[in-house]
Symmetry: D2
Subunit: 383 residues, 4 copies
């Protein structure tokens, strides 16, 4: 480790995404032979007290209470953006302009215009940039990609992707930031629909070229979330409008001729994080469900579906971890992402997914919204 | 058995559907206490030789080579129509006008106009009439319906239905009648899409009120099927145009406010007869896959999915059969259908699904075709 | 059908087994090209009234109230024994001596001595004889056998077989005949343990050569079953001793060197008819669970387990039935059994499983009982 | 973190177990509110060069090349033993006598005598001691334990436990230390059989009181493993004797009256790490398979099995991690173990499982070996 170059990391945000990114930064070097040794240098958050506590718990050496200060620091070469989507563009562009490498949580931005600006900034910058669609780094998803590339399922006919959750089925669940359009951009569509669009494009190697969509907000008003009371215990009777979609359904076409079906919802009772994708090709099929993330199902040669436990040493990323049958968890996808990002930074290669990949997803989401607004008519995704 | 009134049955067609209906007529009386004892009186088919052979094997007492003769016979009170969809309307109307009870294979007809004529004939007739959406009689589907009626999953938010097969993925599979629009009316849409539309409406108790659709024919030309050569071995190089859809995808809305997603395809490699439906409600969810037809999955009270083996005596239809854990097969759905039909005939009650139910499905299919033809725009289902 | 020789069948007993055998006799000719056309000639039972009602419902032409009369009849060439095990030997021997072919429910007999007498009678007789281990005719089990014969899983290392039910977990479930040693011979051991021993021997082609066993009766006394009151509703407080095992566990060795583990119990809450077998070989593995009877799981070449939907035309017995993905049920195993039996009768071949196969199972059960009685010591199965 | 007392950890061994323990020590503080902050002070290994490299990669501050030095160090308060079983007793006793807390990999020792000495040393020592049966810390296993304690499945009738692997099915797999009795003590029995014995005792709260056993070594000789050549590539034709069991099967009784069945094997082709346990009680059942480690199956009230995704905040250990549906992996079981150990150290409570628990497992294994050696006769487990 001593003969590797150390590279300083500054992370902005320490909520759910910040916690999981921290675990990845902390662990990656113990499992992968990295060209660069990350140093958890600085954590930025608005509250000094809370940021200090988070830094202590998560293992960051220093803190800033203004992300602009973090972006300027000499001991920071990588900026990791774990904030809500409405601040991604501003932070990422500033960081890129300051000569930093940037890894940014998904969705890339809340609007296509912001995403375009980010792509332009990335193109003009010295640093590498990556959007954190972590599901690409589920070993089973990466293995699916490999099988498609190898031609094992032939020409693709169907993509069937769903992201099903149920955390807001209760009408008394409060109006958190993810249910507010100004913060989150959209609801299920941008939060989880973005993941299945990216995964479908990644695994098939094809783009979504047009969509027809329906969206719905089942619960129009919810109790206001009060910071002190926490979730679901507001005490107050005040309610506010839900300004994002609860569910988004769309069908469409892929650039290679396949038909695709997408569904993102937070109202699928009993489904906790069922990010599922099934792909049918002329020679075989693949199926995956994140609720059983260590399994990939493959049908080849007209046979039944084989449950591949994606824990073999020659499966993507797996060789670094445990023996066969000893599964990985959610957080490992981030560890893999950061490993790939560090390699891209070291070699100067373009990370995958790039900001351009993130923009492509954004354009699909935008086409979905336009289609839904215009009587579900088939809407081309802009290039 | 001797003190039950015997009722004569005449069946038209002896291919796949005729074989399975025969097994149902033959078996139903041994398991259910019926008000009427069916007598397998007459089988009709065009070829005398083949019809005689089929009657001998399947257990029919007599044959006709013209269905018009069968419809006239005094020893036939029930006419069972197992022919392709293009002849349903003519036969059913003639049988109803001749005072017979009619059970007709699905889809009810190849066009809405024909279906409307059949509904009118049914309304004017003395006899009972039923369209044979046999999946309503899968015990697990009937149990799902019961749970919805009992309110166990609450207000319905999502219907997710797929009917996936793979029998024509090979481009050399020949141009059989099911791939010709003049015979079959449509492709995957009418053949298997009809089943999931009916099942979705049956289980939820709601109608599909509007759809946005995409259809596709992946393989535009296929070898001509020659009768002597049989499937897949034509010898000839002649090819003909596939005039029906290979796959149909549509999203839509149910009358009670749920969003629905449907997919019918014959290109889902590795899926043999995956007729699946998942329903998410405000209190719970249900999931079913015909490839495991004795199982229903129920999530209630926010818990995980419970695998209910639908083989308990108090489950629909099951008490007539075997002990718990001793599953039923495909053909039992037809036995149940005929049992219900005989009871409706005996009591004068309206069978379910009626011709009107069949027309309702037909109208959905017609809206799907219109939407697909008009840039996937959202299309209301006519009443 | 008219040019096939008709063969008369007489069946003794019309309870659960009689009902399912009747359905098989009734259906077999409609699906299989048989060398002999069975005629459902006579049903025997002790009560005239009940036997007449059963014959009418199940489709038998005539009745007898004494099985000895049935065995003598000229219109009976096949005797089908569906009575409890304590009468098997007497009936089968009488029928064989009367020149009849005999198909006898399992277990072959309640004791090894009886089974030996039956084997001797079978050897001396003109007629064919078969013991009805119907699970050999589950298509998935027959396919497993085929794969083993083809060498697809290599040298067998492990057999892991369980038959799990739960119908007597309630201590108030009454003392039915299956819980009485004089009628049933043994409990879970002979009723369901016999099935997994036979299946293990059939699929592997190896015999169980020695066992070490534990048996247990968890509930020592139960309410007496009164005929009028029916199951579970005795009204009376009288109780009787349970004289059979509730559960039997044994481990042992197969003739080819594999280790085997068996468990038969009626106390596996939530398992309804989980007749399961897993076989591990040097090249692959097979797994089956009757609760999903249309599926066989195969691992080959070190890969994951493939779910084979055993509904393809080239799978054993399946070609006679429905298209791929349209599953079969419990009763079909009996239809297959009778089809094979009729072919054996027509050709004079030895049916499988023969009475000798039944005796071999009986000897294993006897070794289990001896081992359990003698401190679980390893006990060789006699030849 | 700053106001927590820091506690120094010294770990001996850096192979598979050392790597996973390191990840646990590194991560535990970021997720759990700990009374003590572990400091990764010293790593001990025989080779200076390799130990230094491992320390650098795994994050240990210093190294020792003799574990005796590590045990003496003032900056080490906890000794973590990750060596093969033959050295456990010597190291653990020395560490305890030096006043350290000890966490020791399983099995506790290679013989009952060693284990007894360790228990005696633990009883005499100031420090806390724990044996690392990590499967107790699979959230699903801990939840199963909770359900049993709450009485949800009633009186336990059956335990059915298997640990199935396949990593040595190839006869050319070399003679690694795990296949040598002097190093490993036993084969599948002690390595993986120990886990299912502990898990069965933990979940049921009952001890195994007697067993009847069979063991087998399928492949008697294997290529010698040469250190330079690595696994499976020996080049040499030299072979050595396999001195441990490849598989162990045993049936037995639990202290509460349940029957139990155990099977540990490394020859279950296609099973990678199938550590499975099913428990049937008078009111319900539980089932688990580590290959799907985030799932627990519960049947209650006679219903079907419910798939509980053990990722809810109120499930054991889960609240510290990710939202519902975001599963954990193998290594988390160690993180949980260390969290519980640190709490025990801080409070002076007895850790679970204690050395006494480890001894109890050892006594079961010893009874298994005696039974297998003595014709499988039923052998009481000594107290």
């Amino acid at each position: 480790m001593s003969d590797r170059t150390t590279i300083g990391v500054g992370m902005i945000g320490y909520a759910f995404m910040g916690r999981v990114h921290s675990q990845a930064w902390r662990s990656v070097g113990a499992f992968f032979d990295l060209p660069l040794a990350p140093r958890m240098a600085v954590l930025a958050g608005r509250s000094k007290e809370r940021t200090e506590a988070a830094a202590a718990q998560l293992g960051w050496a220093d803190i800033e209470t203004d992300w602009r200060e973090l972006v300027k620091r000499d001991d920071v070469q990588i900026v990791d953006i774990c904030t809500p989507g409405d601040s991604h563009a501003e932070i990422a562009i500033a960081a890129l302009q300051a000569g930093k490498h940037v890894i940014c949580e998904k969705p890339l931005a809340n609007t296509v215009a912001e995403a375009e600006a980010m792509v332009a900034a990335a193109a003009a910058a010295q640093g590498r940039s990556m959007v954190a669609f972590n599901y690409r780094r589920v070993p089973a998803i990466a293995l699916a990609r490999r099988y498609v590339e190898e031609g094992r399922i032939g020409e693709i006919r169907h993509v069937r992707a769903q992201y099903l959750q149920d955390w807001i089925v209760d009408p008394e669940f409060p109006l958190v930031w993810r249910l507010q359009k100004d913060k989150a951009g959209s609801g299920a569509l941008g939060d989880i629909g973005a993941h299945i669009v990216d995964a479908a494009q990644f695994v098939t190697g094809q783009n979504v070229v047009g969509v027809s969509a329906l969206t719905e907000t089942f619960i129009k008003e919810r109790p206001l979330a009060t910071e002190s009371a926490g979730l679901g215990a507001t005490g107050s009777t005040a309610r506010g409008e839900v300004t994002v979609d609860d569910a988004a359904l769309f069908i469409g076409r892929m650039s290679g001729g396949a038909l695709a079906s997408f569904e993102a919802t937070r109202f699928a009772n009993g489904r906790k994080n069922a990010m599922r994708i099934e792909i049918n090709g002329s020679l075989g099929s693949l199926a995956f469900d994140f609720e059983a993330m260590n399994e990939l199902w493959l049908s080849a040669d007209g046979g039944g579906f084989e449950r591949i436990l994606v824990t073999e040493p020659d499966h993507p990323y797996v060789g670094a971890w445990w023996p066969p049958g000893h599964g990985l968890g959610y957080e490992h996808t981030f560890t893999h992402e950061i490993k790939d990002f560090l390699e891209a930074v070291a070699t100067g290669a373009d990370p995958s997914p790039s900001f351009a990949d993130g923009l492509r997803v954004q354009r699909v989401l935008e086409a979905v919204e336009r289609s839904a607004a215009e009587g579900s008519r088939y809407t081309n995704v802009e290039d």
